[in-house]
């Protein structure tokens, strides 16, 4: 063994100046705590010290004479032995070594390359360090994946509030490509008034803050609501920045606004209803108190008439409320509808509005197909449209008429109610379908009628169109689908 070693160590002319030194060196190699081996130019291990045997799990001196390939995984990527050691330069490699029992470990090889080929290697087991590094890389990757796949926008700012990093969710949320904002001041996509909010916060509570609702500018110019959390890590060695997390709350804010609106509507509904229920009662109360002071039978008779009108008004309003709640609450009851009979029924019910028959009613009903829908709701729609047509009529220089055109075909029904009455001022035409809106000075109603019509039509998945010219008349067209497929 010594001879072989001796033969090979002769190669280190620079290291070993004398024979004396040579012996010292041999002893050193043998006893060194590092694992040392020498490989010749045919990849044969000509020397391996005790530590090398221990490291690789071989009994001493079994390794001597075996091939390099038995201790190094040859096929692994980055293994310099797969392609031969590069040149003659000394080098440090990381290799996967195989122990005698087949297990592997990562070794760091410091190789002294001989000019004749072969090398002297010193190996250290660096598995633990590599494991640690891998864990670090893994956790970094995990963190990155977390940030990059998060729906939140994560931004890293430097001390001048310039964007250093911004996560890709930016594109989905605000439409910008991350590259567009890198190096830009963070203010560039914060709504102008909300910048002031941040500025005030920075002054009062410093760089670490939270804002529950801030508006950021989308690339397409509209604003979106975000909840943001900023953490000051300027003094943290490895970050030196401000981390800002922006959580998209746009949908939440939208729903909250809807809820607020619904609550507001409910509020005004209760308010209006209680007012409209109270008003006729207060009138009756006033009349009763006046009546107690009157003695003339004629006057009392007038009071009675007025009280009757108030009661009737109250009765109508309660009826409308029932229609209203019926429409929103009850399921659709599909049944076959005969429009000729239905129109007759409706006209009979509201005939009190046309007692003197001053208004001519023209009907054109064409129904050759069976039509299925909710009879109650269509009754409500017709009754409201027709009583409006009766109520808002012009008698001066006019022959008032109402035209009812109903046509059933395979696609559904088209109902047109047309009159030559007072018409609706253009500025109120978009409002007439609003709850409680009264578009006429002469209105004595509740302002619920057309709202109920619109809601009922929506429930039946139909459509309504209004055309009106003030002083000329109104045309309302309703289209409703057949609720049963006709073959």
């Amino acid at each position: 063994m010594t001879n072989i070693l001796h033969k090979w160590t002769q190669g280190f002319s620079s290291l070993f100046a004398s024979n004396q030194n040579n012996i010292v060196f041999e002893q050193y190699l043998e006893e060194a705590s590092d694992a040392i081996y020498i490989v010749d130019n045919s990849e044969k291990i000509v020397f391996a010290n005790k530590s090398a045997h221990a490291l690789l799990g071989y009994p001493y001196p079994e390794l001597n004479g075996s091939s390099m390939s038995s201790i190094v995984q040859p096929s692994l990527k980055g293994n310099p032995f797969a392609e031969g050691l590069p040149g003659t330069a000394d080098a440090i490699f990381q290799l996967t070594y195989i122990r005698k029992n087949g297990t592997a470990f990562t070794g760091e090889l410091s190789a002294k390359i001989f000019s004749e080929g072969g090398h002297l290697g010193i190996v250290r087991d660096v598995s633990r360090a590599v494991d640690q590094r891998d864990t670090l890389v893994n956790s970094e990757n995990k963190l990155r994946a977390l940030i990059e796949n998060s729906f939140d926008i994560v931004i890293l700012l430097n001390r001048h509030f310039i964007v250093q990093y911004i996560s890709p969710s930016l594109e989905d949320s605000l439409g910008y490509h991350p590259g567009e904002l890198l190096g830009k001041p963070v203010n560039s996509f914060i709504e102008f008034h909300d910048r002031k909010l941040i500025y005030d916060l920075l002054k009062s509570s410093g760089i670490t803050y939270r804002i529950e609702d801030i508006r950021l500018k989308h690339k397409d110019k509209f604003l979106k609501h975000f909840e943001i959390n900023a953490i000051n890590l300027l003094h943290q060695e490895n970050i030196r920045g401000i981390i800002v997390n922006c959580h998209d709350i746009h949908d939440r804010v939208h729903f909250e606004e809807q809820l607020k609106n619904t609550n507001y509507e409910l509020d005004s509904f209760v308010y209006r209803v209680s007012h409209d229920l109270k008003a006729p009662l207060r009138s009756i109360l006033g009349l009763l108190s006046l009546a107690s002071k009157e003695s003339s039978v004629e006057t009392l008779h007038i009071y009675n008439e007025m009280m009757k009108r108030s009661v009737e008004g109250l009765d109508r309003f309660i009826h409308e409320l029932t229609q209203f709640s019926r429409n929103s609450r009850l399921d659709i009851q599909v049944e076959s509808i005969d429009f000729t009979a239905l129109v007759r029924e409706v006209l009979f019910q509201i005939q009190y509005l046309n007692l003197e028959n001053k208004i001519e009613v023209r009907q054109h009903i064409i129904q050759n197909l069976e039509f299925f829908s909710d009879k109650h709701r269509i009754h409500t729609i017709l009754a409201n449209l027709l009583s409006n047509a009766y109520k808002y009529h012009r008698f001066e220089n006019n022959n008032p008429y109402i035209e009812i055109d109903i046509k059933v075909d395979s696609s559904g029904v088209e109902i047109i109610v047309l009159d030559n009455g007072t018409g609706i001022d253009e500025q109120y035409q978009t409002k007439v379908f609003d709850m409680f809106y009264r578009a006429s000075e002469q209105s004595t109603g509740s302002g619920l009628g057309l709202y109920i019509v619109k809601s009922a039509i929506e429930r039946l998945q139909g459509e309504i169109q209004l055309e009106s010219i003030i002083g000329k008349g109104t045309k309302i067209k309703v289209e409703l689908p057949n609720k049963k497929k006709l073959d």
Binding site: H275, R282, S283, L290, M306, E441, T444
Partner: protein, 135 residues
């Protein structure tokens, strides 16, 4: 006519005919005003003031104003009233007469500079007596 009237002219603004009738009758029985002018919409009341703004005698001392009216309601009326010359505004005191006892309405309308009082329908001898302390 022996009875002394408390004021010269009152303008009733209400879309409810029955209520206008009641108010007129209560005012008559209490000899509250010599002239009672009735307008059944906010719009026609504004037109009346417009036409009479240069006739001091015709300008009402008191206006009874309803809140819930179609198109020109009490709030719109007050908004437009703001534009009348001082000759009108200095003479006229506005009293809200409504069946609403909703606090929001009362607060909102009492905030108005020209509104001096808020009465709840129906108008009664008692509420008129109360009003006399103010106007």
């Amino acid at each position: 006519m022996g009875a002394e009237h408390y004021i010269d002219t009152i303008l009733l603004v209400d879309d409810n005919e029955t209520d206008n009738f009641i108010h007129k009758r209560v005012l008559e029985l209490n000899s509250f005003a010599k002239n009672i002018v009735i307008k059944n919409s906010g719009k026609s009341a504004l037109e009346f003031l417009q036409q009479n703004q240069h006739y001091p005698d015709a300008i009402p001392n008191v206006i009874f104003l309803d809140i819930n009216m179609p198109i020109v309601d009490g709030f719109v009326f007050l908004f437009e009233y703001e534009n009348f010359p001082d000759t009108v505004k200095n003479k006229t005191k506005i009293v809200i007469l409504s069946s609403s006892d909703n606090k929001k309405d009362i607060d909102r309308i009492v905030d108005n500079d020209y509104v001096v009082h808020f009465l709840t329908k129906p108008l009664s001898d008692e509420s008129l007596a109360e009003l006399k302390k103010i106007v």
